[in-house]
């Protein structure tokens, strides 16, 4: 192991952790803005840094500052050790489970140097994910038990019961996928979904195992304790459930963990059923071979988008003057300048691309970068599905939750495994 290997290893780890850390604020913004638009409200839009509001993105920053500076309150009679330990568990678990997810196909550079797309390239893969992610419930139980409050305890008991009930169909649904792909390593699973069927349909798992994908998605909602299965924090009955007694950044960590768990769930969901990092209709070899061609296209698109953004933002600026009567009125102008600047840089790079032949090592790097972006786009889409479902559906009643889990999802998952087994045997 050379120094370069160690550096690459650390960089990979940082990248993956940073992807999660950076998407969480985005998701909080997505949740607030998405819920606002679903309910015909404008949503967050006021907080600003200089003239920039960015549609309320800075509210998340303001919230974080608020949470860090609030009083850290501990109720009387709380068990201090577990009370402090509880918020750390879900956050830590969310950050380490994402380590087995492949973010790009192994980059093979012309000199033979390889960079794998996972932080932890271990063979158990999905099994490791299930083993670790089921520990999340300890965070919830510790929080509920240690804070010496009946609401917290009830929420924790509900959460643990729901998590245990829904883990079984979730794992069974994943077993169908494992049978289909013949591997538990997520990198192999993502790799198996490269290419197309009949010339147009991407070889994604969802087209082979639609039922298992659906069961996995539904159980993901329950695993992350989100609507329609968020009985753990049913605010109409339990104040806030297991984190009722938490304040300040300890509460913030539960909030953070909820969104981090969403990212991990959707990342695994995407890897198992929606091709993972695979760009539809473009496999890794094609991306490497035509790296220059696609780079030119992307730069061209960036140029056009920059020009359109310039026009749109300038129009916003002209139409919106006097709305805020302060520096925020100039946001459109600043964004228009940024857009035209981006377009100019893209045009410059485009000319450079036309003028020079890009070096050999650029191909694998480009493929890895595009696959990382593709993966993030897919993850963000499914995170939006989580948000979308949350603001559409009402909460399940507790008996309905248990009925759905044990009487519907579990038999369906088992039947799906049986069907998969029969089909695999017959088709062989």
């Amino acid at each position: 192991m050379t120094a370069l290997d160690v550096l690459i290893y650390i960089l990979r780890g940082l990248l993956v952790v940073l992807v999660v850390l950076q998407i969480v604020p985005l998701l909080i913004w997505l949740e607030r803005k998405g819920s606002a638009y679903i309910q015909d409200r404008p949503g967050p839009e006021r907080a600003h840094v200089g003239p920039l509001r960015l549609a309320g993105l800075f509210h998340v920053l303001a919230d974080a500052i608020k949470l860090f500076s609030k009083e850290d309150f501990m109720p009387a009679g709380a068990n201090k050790f577990f009370y402090y330990l509880a918020p750390m568990i879900p956050v830590g678990i969310a950050l380490i489970t994402v380590a087995v997810v492949p973010f790009w196909h192994t980059m093979v550079f012309p000199n033979g140097y390889t960079v794998i797309g996972q932080v932890l390239a271990i063979d158990p893969g999905i099994l490791w994910f299930f083993a670790i992610v089921s520990l999340t419930v300890y965070g919830v139980i510790f929080a509920g038990w240690s804070s010496n409050s009946k609401f917290s305890l009830l929420g924790a008991m509900r959460a643990s019961a729901a998590s245990l009930s829904y883990e079984i169909p979730m794992v069974l649904a994943a077993i169908s996928a494992i049978m289909t792909y013949g591997s538990v390593n997520l990198a192999h699973i993502a790799d198996a979904q490269t290419g197309v069927w009949w010339g147009f349909l991407p070889r994604w798992g969802v087209f082979v195992q639609p039922l298992a994908a659906l069961i996995f998605l539904v159980t993901s909602f329950a695993e992350t304790n989100r609507v329609p299965f968020d009985l753990a924090e049913a605010e109409s009955e339990l104040v806030a459930g297991y984190h009722t007694e938490y304040s300040s950044m300890k509460w913030g960590m539960f909030m953070f963990a909820e969104y981090a768990a969403m990212i991990v769930s959707t990342a695994v969901f995407t890897t198992l059923w929606f091709g993972g990092y695979n760009v539809p209709w473009l496999d890794t070899a094609a991306l490497i071979a035509h790296a220059q061609y696609w780079t030119e296209w992307l730069l061209g698109i960036t140029f056009v988008v920059g020009l359109v953004g310039f026009a749109v933002n300038l129009n916003h600026f002209a139409a919106g003057v006097g709305r805020w009567r302060d520096i925020r009125d100039y946001e459109g102008l600043v964004l228009a300048m940024g857009a035209i600047g981006t377009a100019a840089v893209a045009l410059l790079l485009l000319f450079l691309c036309f003028a020079f032949h890009l070096p050999d090592w650029y191909g694998p790097l480009f493929a890895g970068f595009i696959q990382l972006q593709m993966f993030i786009v897919k993850v963000l889409f499914f995170c939006w599905v989580f948000v979308w479902v949350r603001w559409t559906l009402p909460r399940f009643r507790y008996d309905q939750l248990m009925n759905l889990g044990w009487k519907s999802l579990l038999p369906l998952a088992l039947a799906n495994i049986l069907l998969t087994g029969i089909l695999i045997t017959v088709l062989k």
């Binding site: 606002a36 638009y37 309910q39 015909d40 404008p42 139409a319 709305r323 479902v389 559409t392």
Partner: protein, 180 residues
Amino acid sequence: MKNVVQNPPEAQTVSRQINTLGETVYLVEIVKGLGITVGHVLKNLFGYKPRMTVGYPEQKRAIPEGYRGKHRLTTREDGSTKCVACMMCATACPAECIHIVPTESENPDIERYPARFDIDLLECVFCGLCVEACPVDAIRMDSGVYSLTAFDRESFMVTKEELMQIKGNPHPEGKVVLDQ
């Protein structure tokens, strides 16, 4: 369980029978619901500009006539207060937030006037009984001021001088300018 709860005669029983297979498996109905919500998102993202909400500090809704806002003390033409310190308002006040210190007036036509007339706005319940009780129309709540904010409790103890300076605004023309 039969006849345990008697429905009131005019109450209607809403049938909650789940009939179709599509409703039983939730999925079809869920997709329908998701369609409705994403319709709202798209409508708000592209072109649905007049919103239902009011951007409060910049935009204000018109307040209704007869709205009970912050109190004010009316004045005579010479600028002195109309209040005769009869204590009717302080007596009527259910929150006991009006504190009056009466004193004798040099003007022979007026026997008493308030040396101090303090209202604790944090105690006030804005019931308007002081206005009803006043025999000389000295206290009114027609200022149209409904946003009472300060950084300390002392600022909510308003004195006679402050109350006399507040202008009446019986028909506030708060105009809602919808979001552009």
